[in-house]
Amino acid sequence: MASRATLDSPVKQIQIEGLVVLKMIKHYQEEGQGTEVVQGVLLGLVVEDRLEITNCFPFPQHTEDDADFDEVQYQMEMMRSLRHVNIDHLHVGWYQSTYYGSFVSRALLDSQFSYQHAIEESVVLIYDPIKTAQGSLSLKAYRLTPKLMEICKEKDFSAEGLKKAMIGFEHMFEEVPIVIKNSHLINVLMWELEEKSTVADKHELLNLSSSNHLEKSLQLLMDRVDDMSQDIVKYNTYSRNLSKQQQQKHQYTQRRQQENAQRQTRGEPPLPEEDISKMFKPPQPPPRMDTLLIAGQINNYCQNVKEFTSQNLGKLFLAEALQGHNS
């Protein structure tokens, strides 16, 4: 579902500061539980073809007793305050945490579209805390492809619209490579921390157990595939209805013509040609956007599962080598 950044996109690389990574991790750790997503705003600037992200701040979560909470006001105030302390206050994107990789949804599409419409270079950073807890930081940056932007602008989500633009689920999002860069002072800090802190490296990355994670991922995948099949059934019924209707229309016109011919032979005035389209209302075509999103999500899940299994295969062979030496 993600192709490498195309040559005509304004952003070819994302450069993140270590501070932003740490802040995102902390935000999820403290405020996110289970399947809830945490979101926040990214601040930075654009340098040539790189998007540098230098700071971020979290967004409070939506709670029910929040009637008087104004999101825009919170954002404005935050950015104004940050400007006083010389932090870049240019809005360049937003971040979101994800649960096992399930983030391709209508909400995300809409948000990213509004961001990209307003600010051309904006990206959405997807942070996967569960994969990170397994050993390595999982952070991906996505943008909408120009084709998808066009479609969203025109709000034309029907099948013909999508066919015209030739959008498949692979062309929805494009992934932008990320690079982490730290200033010298932060590097000094890192050296200090390594010296002073006594927390040992726990090597979760070499953990052999896989069934739990696989189970959950496969469960989510199955749910999505179910959704997909329902969608396909809907589409099939629609096309069947459409063809039946075509047949009916055809029969009706034929009968009309026959009757008219008969009447002419009998010398009576022909019956008026009624408006056929009013009689046979065409069935509503199902929206294709959801199918596209589901397909994209399934693709993402499959990709994640494959990455996970390849890692685990490697680990199993490692274990075999270790055992082989022992016996």
Binding site: K26, V85, Q311
Partner: protein
């Protein structure tokens, strides 16, 4: 007479208050243990780099949670301030505003103190500390030496205590506290990645993908094993004195590899590999299926 804050002396300037850092002793200190998250230190370093022209140091508020014996610092934000020879002005309004905003996101964090970059504790620190004691019960003062005066980034925490003869000259003494670093699991992994960044030539590093990561982790374990082996060689050849505790760790390590009979291990390994291969096959099949579906619809 002027007061000279000095690392090893306490001087008073009567009758007004004065401040002096207590001698840096290695004995136990009274007061809570301060646990700092790395995100706070990174924030402080970043705000120091972005300071205004002419400002020699930056101050800000520390947010976190208070426990019975410890104080955990989890967040911070910088506060604009102006400092000159004889006066200091802090934007209190700004501090209050920021705290309100932060409270909306994490309602459990409270103001627990303040930080300042720079090595010494100056007289102005007393005034700022006074302001913060109105906000928090027993505020912590954190100093981070970003100018690297002694080739180290001294990260110290202090708490204020009254001193002097009651009724006569009263002063404020900043007593040092033990500082510990605490990480969440995911934080540790993030910090690990950042630490690997600093080895790269232009301080930039990309995120590696699946199998490379396992390879990387395996190389790290291998490096550790080589160090251990080198140590053992030295002990055997008599160069280094044998240490019993290290020996115990080594026996622990060797016995950690479980002793399973060859057939059992074979069957376990094969069943696991079968599971993983099947899942890979299914994933590929699903992807092919949706790709086909896509093409058919577009037709």
């Amino acid at each position: 007479m002027r007061a000279q804050p000095n690392g090893s002396q306490l001087n008073f300037r009567t009758p007004s208050r004065t401040a002096a850092p207590a001698p840096d002793l290695k004995m136990a200190v009274h007061g809570p243990v301060v646990k700092i998250h790395p995100v706070v230190l990174a924030s402080i370093a970043d705000s120091y780099e972005r300071r205004n022209e002419g400002a020699s140091r930056v101050i800000g508020t520390l947010l976190g949670t208070v426990d019975k014996h410890s104080v955990e610092v989890t967040n911070c934000f910088s506060v604009p301030h102006n400092e000159s020879e004889d006066e200091v002005a802090v934007d209190m309004e700004f501090a209050k505003n920021m705290y309100e905003l932060h409270k909306k996101v994490s309602p459990t964090e409270v103001i627990i103190g303040w930080y300042a970059t720079g090595f010494d504790i100056t007289e102005h620190s007393v005034l700022i500390h006074e302001y913060y004691s109105r906000e928090a019960v027993n505020p912590i003062h954190l100093t981070v030496d970003t100018a690297l005066q002694s080739n180290k980034m001294n990260i110290r925490a202090y708490i204020s205590a009254q001193m002097g003869v009651p009724g006569k000259t009263v002063g404020v003494m900043f007593t040092p506290l033990t500082v510990k670093y605490i990480y969440y699991d995911t934080e540790r992994i993030g910090v690990g990645l950042l630490q690997r960044t600093r080895d790269a030539p232009n301080r930039a590093k990309g995120l590696t993908s699946d199998l490379c990561q396992v390879g990387g982790a395996a190389t790290r374990v291998q490096d550790m094993l080589t160090t251990v082996l080198a140590y053992i060689e030295e002990v055997l050849s008599g160069k280094v004195q044998a240490d019993n505790s290290v020996g115990r760790f080594l026996t622990d390590l060797v016995s950690k590899v479980p002793k399973i009979s060859a057939e059992d291990f074979e069957s376990m390994l094969n069943s696991n590999i079968n599971d993983l291969l099947m899942v890979t096959y299914l994933a590929n099949l699903t992807q092919a299926q949706i790709a086909l579906n896509e093409k058919l619809v577009i037709l």
